[in-house]
Subunit: 132 residues, 2 copies
Amino acid sequence: MKADVPDFAKHGGLLPAIAQDVHTGLVLMLAWMNAEALAETLATGRAVYFSRRRGKLWRKGEESGHIQKVVDVRIDCDADAILLRVEQIGAACHEGFTSCFFRSLSANGQLSLIMDRIVDPASVYHSPNHLT
Amino acid sequence: MKADVPDFAKHGGLLPAIAQDVHTGLVLMLAWMNAEALAETLATGRAVYFSRRRGKLWRKGEESGHIQKVVDVRIDCDADAILLRVEQIGAACHEGFTSCFFRSLSANGQLSLIMDRIVDPASVYHSPNHLT
């Protein structure tokens, strides 16, 4: 890979990565990647992020089974944001929703639930470490 | 707005904000918001970001005319990422492409152009300050 694309040097080694469902177009989540996470994602075809909370690589679905098969990786104009178009197995969100963006924010600051929970988190996570 | 939603305190006052075309589902861009940018976005129905390069609010389209009419604002599970579903006027990207994510990255690190440029940047920007 060219050292300057994407440009991990710009922002402390971590770039935002968006996952989008390739079939429905739904934006599933936003996570973070370092160079190693992107390299493993490209090599394996499975989404791998860097967990800021845990300070290590996060192989999406490693505990829940809710992996993301990567169809396409896109880079933005400034080479500092990444878009993964994926086939999502199960729920993208650790809260059990298809997408992490399951709430809408109104002009007056009220949050509304706009999706149904499709998975009971207790049924797929066996440790308290599933939060990113 | 509740002070803790979204949680701008978490990450130095700036959160990543994704803009998605509400009609086509295309992910258009990723930019950044501070609390003031989000408040103005909610109040005006036009996407307003915070330009890290310029260090000030960036009213999307203020120079190019390529505004984003905000249909819906969504917040993720951790309240630290924002999704705007928008009606995009013109090109979202300052390079003249519909989306900033106009390049695909292959497993061997090669970038490919996957969209046509729809606007000549020189025709809409009259200063060198249009880069975010």
